[in-house]
């Protein structure tokens, strides 16, 4: 399962709805013992596009790390791909697919593009 985080505004209800959607998809994947990848924007991990998007992106990263611990016992993985605005979506999708198929990489953040260099560790 590859889940692309949707942009949200500054309204709390929208933030909660997006995080809840990710939770429901992740729980279904975990119950089916299927690996998953969240896709977020690097800008959002740094808080550059507002609080709503920042909460969603950083929340998904932490959730993936926790899910990775749980999936490791069952053989499924949870990872995150972060991309820059100018990145080719097909390249991002390729990295997400690689992580789904890798099987031995979990709880990891893969950042496509150079936007994270020199910035805080997520």
């Amino acid at each position: 399962m590859i889940h692309w985080a949707q942009g949200v505004g500054e309204d709390w209800a929208g933030v909660l709805a997006e995080l809840t959607r990710a939770f429901e998809l992740s729980r279904a994947a975990a119950q089916a013992e299927v690996s998953f990848v969240y896709v977020v924007r690097q800008d959002d991990l740094l808080g550059r596009r507002g609080a709503g998007n920042a909460m969603v992106a950083a929340g998904l990263l932490s959730a993936a790390r926790t899910a990775a611990l749980e999936g490791a016992r069952k053989g499924w993985t949870a990872n995150v791909v972060a991309y820059d605005e100018d990145d080719d979506p097909s390249s991002v999708q390729t990295w997400a697919q690689r992580l789904l198929e890798a099987g031995d990489v979990t709880g990891e953040l893969v950042r496509v593009g150079p936007g994270h260099v020199g910035k805080t560790l997520a």
Binding site: V15, G50, A58, R65
Partner: protein, 232 residues
């Protein structure tokens, strides 16, 4: 420093230690949110009982701040709960409850109070070391990671007047950690390089430092108070 500092989740544990630390340091009025009046420990702590997840909860806190008649100089978003379960077994209700209290309350109260905060003020959000991942805490970990995201976004949007940072406690001696079965807790302590649980006062000291001009060039950061557990 002179003004008002609001501390949520101040009835017990880390929040209580923060409120007491702030109240002990000088001419600052502390508004402790979630404190029943009979629990107020110092006359410098003004207790407010309010449900921060209710639509009017944050405005009640703002009105209490205004009634104090001195500038708002600090906010500590500490209120938090756990509803642990493995992801496969986590209920919709437990997911939503943790997100509403740990994240929604912090977001809404920050949004309510930041416009009236003085330049030079500071917000400290209490995250958790669980934002790095913790078995059986999908909801809690997500909420605390999101608090880190909120911290970064607010640090950018409220600069240069207001600094915003997060503190991520590890295993701290509190009601929440003492609810962990002793055998499991002992194993957790054994994995901490400093070989002990932290105290609420040690977290409070770090929060206090972030509230004061001693940390005047720091914003958007997460400080882990975890005895080195993130390395072991």
């Amino acid at each position: 420093m002179n003004g008002v500092i609001v501390v949520t989740g101040a009835a017990r544990g880390i929040g209580r230690a923060i409120a007491e630390k702030v109240a002990s340091t000088g001419p600052i009025t502390v508004i402790g949110v979630d404190i029943a009046p009979e629990l107020a420990l110092s006359e410098d702590i003004t207790p407010v009982q309010v449900d921060l997840t209710s639509p009017d909860g944050p405005s009640v806190v703002r009105e209490t701040v205004q009634a104090a008649g001195v500038p708002l100089i600090g906010l500590v978003n500490n209120a938090g709960i756990t509803r642990d379960a493995r992801l496969v077994n986590m209920t919709d209700e437990d997911f939503a409850a943790v997100l509403e209290v740990n994240l929604g309350a912090a977001y809404r109260l920050s949004s309510e109070l930041a416009p009236s905060m003085s330049d030079g003020g500071a917000i400290v959000n209490i995250a958790s070391r669980a934002y790095l991942g913790n078995f059986g805490q999908f909801n809690y970990s997500m909420s605390k990671g999101a608090v880190v995201g909120l911290t970064r976004a607010l640090a950018l949007s409220l600069a240069p007047g207001i600094r915003v940072n997060a503190v991520a406690p590890g295993l701290i001696s509190s009601e929440m950690s003492l609810a962990i079965p002793e055998e499991i807790r002992d194993k957790m302590v054994a994995a901490i390089p400093l070989h002990r649980m932290g105290t609420p006062e040690e977290v409070a000291n770090t929060v206090w430092w972030l509230l004061t001009p001693l940390s005047s060039y720091i914003t958007g950061e997460v400080i882990v108070v975890g005895g080195g557990r993130s390395l072991s």
